[in-house]
């Protein structure tokens, strides 16, 4: 067995060997993974880039303070004219995570566990979704049908619970994968409970949240027009970056029409553990939605109305 200088070197060698083994080309003698390896049970422990690894900083505390206010990869040192190997590996890994967030679907398990019904758009595959931006803004025929079914159930549930008749709910929440399925899986379980319970506690009627697969921001307009509800909230995965792949946005629209433009929307972005925590964003949205219902508008108009 070779003697490795550090964990990083061991990790590189073992990653290469693992690949080689898959193709049956690994030398048998190197086949064992020793204890303490950075690869355990298929989980790769990534190099840490959150703390400065500069070796000759004049004021280490200053570098640390700077790193605390940015996710940019500063203060990590270098090796000659290039980045250090662990910095580079982490860069590649974060890039891969961002790619995964875009290309992978929200898992069926997740949807089942969170009682989310799927509504489809005209974009039936990820490729369509990425190549034809407009398709993700339009529900499929089947999707429209399902949306109405769920909505009908909602009014019935309301009757049973409150013994009063409503024709539609005030607020419909939709969840779209957008450009990050990971954002949905990471934030939805934390944002929905305070959001839904908070709205109900405030006497606002809320439809059962639905998942819009391959959905974009503007799909919320069609949902609003189909249902005739007052407010549509679209919780959607943001385009991932190297800082995080799990950031989510909350778009809000008041009674959308065919003429709705982007300035009509209200937005809270940066919802994830490292930004606004989803649970806090949920509570925040409760207040925001009540304001929207009060002023009967969103977007720039809401900003003007509340000035």
């Amino acid at each position: 067995m070779a003697n490795y200088q550090n964990d990083m070197e061991r990790m590189i060698v073992e990653s290469v060997l693992a690949e080689l083994r898959k193709s049956g080309a690994a030398p048998a003698a190197y086949g064992n993974t020793t204890a303490g390896s950075v690869i355990e049970d298929g989980v790769i422990n990534l190099p840490d880039v959150d703390h400065p690894t500069l070796t000759n900083a004049k004021n280490y505390a200053a570098v640390e303070a700077m790193k605390q206010v940015t996710t940019a990869r500063i203060g990590l040192g270098r090796c000659g004219t290039r980045q250090r190997t662990d910095t580079w590996l982490r860069f590649q890994a974060d890039h891969a995570a961002a790619m995964d967030a875009v290309f992978l679907d929200v898992s069926d398990d997740f949807l089942k566990k969170n009682n989310l019904e799927t509504i489809t758009t005209r974009a039936t595959t990820k490729d369509d979704f990425l190549r034809e931006p407009n398709w993700g803004t339009q529900l499929s025929e089947e999707g429209v049908k399902k949306l109405h079914e769920i909505c009908k159930q909602d009014t019935q549930i309301h009757e049973q619970r409150f013994h009063s008749t409503i024709t539609k709910v005030q607020v419909q929440i939709i969840i779209s994968d957008g450009l990050s399925s990971r954002a949905i899986e990471a934030n939805i379980p934390e944002i929905l409970p305070p959001l839904v319970q908070g709205l109900e506690a405030a006497g606002v009627t809320v439809g059962t949240p639905v998942f819009v697969k391959n959905g974009r921001v503007r799909v919320m307009d069609q949902v609003g027009m189909e249902l005739g509800c007052d407010v549509v909230l679209n919780l959607i995965g943001e385009r991932p970056g190297l800082g995080t792949a799990s950031s989510m946005s909350a778009y809000l629209i008041y009674r959308p029409t065919k003429d709705t433009v982007e300035a009509d929307r209200t937005l809270i972005s940066n919802i994830y553990a490292g930004g606004t925590p989803p649970v806090e964003a949920g509570a925040q949205l409760v207040d925001l939605i009540q304001d929207i219902l009060k002023y009967q508008c969103t977007g720039v108009k809401l900003n003007e109305a509340t000035k």
């Binding site: 505390a61 606004t276 925590p277 649970v279 409760v286 207040d287």
Partner: protein, 491 residues
């Protein structure tokens, strides 16, 4: 109400410093602005601090070294407001600092009465050696230096009666102490050599030096230099060697500074500082006692003793006005913008902060939380049922819905006895989850209690806070953190 906009709000703030020797006032304008991008939840901060008016420096009207003449104070304030061309009712925030030897209980009540007319709705009258140390360090620039250099800067504000030490790192206060030394503890005939007053702490310094000096005696130049040098040594000792010797221990009005950090540079503020940063030399007795005290020679001694100890003295932005400027422009904090408050409940004054939970070990279990809360709250409440209490905590065990919900249940359960008596539940949480926690508390209490839940404010057990009415369209509340220690009680 929820506003996403880049609007700003301006507040007029007053700082009044009533010290052993001098009384001063500053009026300033604070600008509160959202510094976050439009699509992100707003982050309100004080973006500008502009001093509008600096008063003259008045001698504090104090009779036979014990009681402050409150009527005189009122007259001074009235005249200064007139000079500034402003009305007391324009003032929205600020602090009145009663410091040094004047911080006696009997004075505090008089002063409160005298200033109440000249300080707006949300101005606190307070005295506390640590608060004074902190405000002086903010006013002198020591806090800003530490933020710029990411190193620990100690500010020593040396006034007539006390030397207040505030230590800052990264712009945050990390330590504070106060020594009973100052320029006015020995008084002499102006420009002469006859001793007219020796305060008790100065007597200890004299005893330590073996100098026999009584009121009416003529002091020599050498004696005054030795007294000043000894006082300066105590200042150096408190910074350099954190295990105080006998004399320092006697004269410390607070615990000594902690010994788990290095001080990079020292800033001197206060009236004495003007002689620290000049080239003054005590060559003639007439200049040494020109103010009827030992201030100038003490300043010189500080310069000399720190140089001997190899400690660099950084230049303060303010000297004699550091504390009053600190009080005027640095006493107010702005809460996080995700808060949950019943507006009609505010403002609240003199809320005593309790921290029922151990640091870094936040319990998760509802009953454990409730027990810890009720243990602390019921004890304090039974001692003094009139006190308004607030619960301070770092945050839930995890910033997740379940944890926050359980925390809300535990808090409500633990506060139930107290709430039966006084219907306002005040929670100050460090983590960014004030709104979620507030909403959960509202739900678990079935909307039956008045609730103030603010986040992102640093408070500690024993602090008293004032929470002002919401500003910026209800998004944030101003909070003044103060420590009400009138006497040598917290050693």
């Amino acid at each position: 109400m929820f506003i996403i906009s880049s609007a700003e709000q301006k507040l007029i703030s007053v700082g009044i410093d009533i010290g052993t020797t001098t009384t001063q006032l500053v009026l300033s304008r604070l600008t509160v602005r959202n510094s976050a991008p439009a699509s992100v939840i707003p982050h309100m901060e004080i973006s500008e601090r502009e001093v509008l008016y600096r008063s003259n420096i008045h001698f504090t009207p104090i009779d036979d070294h014990l009681l402050i003449d409150a009527d005189e104070i009122a007259k001074i304030l009235e005249e200064e407001y007139r000079q500034a061309g402003m009305n007391p009712w324009d003032v929205e925030t600020g602090a009145v600092i009663i410091t040094g030897e004047t911080a006696k209980k009997e004075n505090a009540a008089n002063i409160l009465e005298a200033v109440s007319e000249y300080a707006g709705d949300f101005v606190v009258a307070t005295a506390g050696v640590n608060l004074e140390s902190i405000l002086a360090g903010r006013g002198s620039g020591a806090s800003a230096y530490s933020e710029e250099h990411h190193k620990a800067f100690a500010n020593i504000d040396i006034g007539g009666g006390t030397a207040n030490i505030g230590v800052f790192n990264g712009g945050r206060v990390i330590d504070a102490a106060c020594i009973n030394v100052g320029g006015h503890l020995v008084e002499l005939e102006k420009g002469g050599d006859t001793v007219t007053y020796i305060a008790e702490p100065a007597q200890r310094v004299l005893n330590d030096l073996g100098i026999e000096l009584m009121i009416g005696d003529k002091a020599t130049q050498k004696q005054l230099i030795r007294i000043a040098e000894r006082m300066a040594e105590l200042c150096v000792e408190s910074i350099v060697n954190r295990h105080p010797g006998e004399l320092l221990d006697e004269l410390l009005m607070t615990p000594a500074l902690k010994d788990d950090y290095e001080v990079y540079q020292v800033v001197i503020s206060g009236g004495v500082a003007d002689y620290v940063y000049s080239d003054y030399e005590p060559v003639a007795l007439s200049t040494m006692t020109q103010y009827g005290d030992i201030g100038p020679v003490l300043g010189w001694a500080i310069r000399k003793k720190f140089a001997e100890a190899g400690v660099t003295l950084a230049k303060p932005l303010e000297t004699i006005r550091a504390t009053v400027i600190g009080a005027g422009i640095h006493s107010m904090n702005i809460s996080g913008s995700t808060i949950h408050v019943n507006e009609q409940t505010l403002p609240l004054k003199n809320v005593q902060v309790l921290s029922p939970f151990p640091k870094d070990e936040m319990p998760r279990d509802i009953d454990v939380i409730a027990e810890m809360v009720s243990d602390t709250v019921d004890r304090i409440h039974s001692e003094d049922p009139d006190k308004i209490l607030g619960i301070a905590l770092e945050g839930p065990a995890e910033v997740t819905y379940n944890c926050i919900r359980d925390l809300a249940e535990g808090l409500y359960k633990g506060m139930r006895n107290y709430l039966r008596y006084r219907g306002v539940l005040i929670v100050i949480v460090g983590a960014d989850c004030g709104k979620a926690l507030g909403q959960c508390l509202d739900i678990v209490s079935d909307h039956h209690i008045e609730l103030v839940c603010v986040d992102q404010i640093d408070v500690d057990e024993g602090d008293y806070i004032d929470i002002g009415s919401p500003i910026m369209g209800g998004r944030v509340v101003p909070v003044v953190v103060k420590t009400l220690v009138f006497e040598k009680g917290n050693k």
